[in-house]
Subunit: 121 residues, 2 copies
């Protein structure tokens, strides 16, 4: 099986939610979303079947998972279990790499409002 | 389901292979390995059942997957399919985040020579 190479520089950005500017790519079993988030931007509470791992690159981010507030900074990694309800707020400008498992089929054609549209799952 | 927070700063490093200095953490379905690799270090050919996604943070890395040579630089992402044979060489000092799916059970107690010990799978 040959490997596949992507370059983030060649992946188009979109802003599916105000202040959340991101791009996405997929492997066979996972999806990767690279975000630039403006200070003060808010991610409404939602959930999805995918496990999500939030890799903080830059900035301060407040994540609420299942009612518990987690304060994240650079070099921190937050694991959001499958189906856990979560919301977030960027306390400063942030850069984040989210990893999802399984693949986010709703992101196959790029990021979409499905970022919050997962609703209950 | 509550979330879990890790801080890479609190995860111990080890050097399972000469020049490959790394640390590892696990989510429910994935494993994350953060590497500092010294220029010239070589990863012998091996394979494993896990899909592996190589996220280049810094440096130039030569990856051979299934006989094909891939040249990687910052911002590039290489996908190594499950069971694909691969080897690598750091052309410069590198920083890399590897993501594996499923969890690397052989890394449960930290990185080990299993990094190359997977053999054929």
């Amino acid at each position: 099986m040959p490997g596949t190479v992507h370059d983030w520089a060649n992946v188009a950005e979109s802003e599916p939610l105000p202040g959340f500017i991101g791009k996405v790519l997929h492997s066979d079993t996972m999806s990767f979303a690279l975000w630039r988030i403006r200070a003060g931007s808010v991610l409404p509470e939602h959930s999805h079947v995918h496990e999500q791992v939030v890799n903080m690159i830059e900035g301060e981010f407040e994540l609420v998972v299942d009612g518990e507030t987690l304060r994240l900074g650079p070099g921190m990694v937050a694991v959001i279990p499958s189906h856990a309800r979560h919301s977030a707020r960027a306390l400063t400008d942030c850069r984040i790499l989210d990893v999802f498992q399984p693949v986010r089929e709703d992101y196959r054609n790029g990021l979409s409002a499905a970022v919050i549209g997962g609703g209950r799952s």
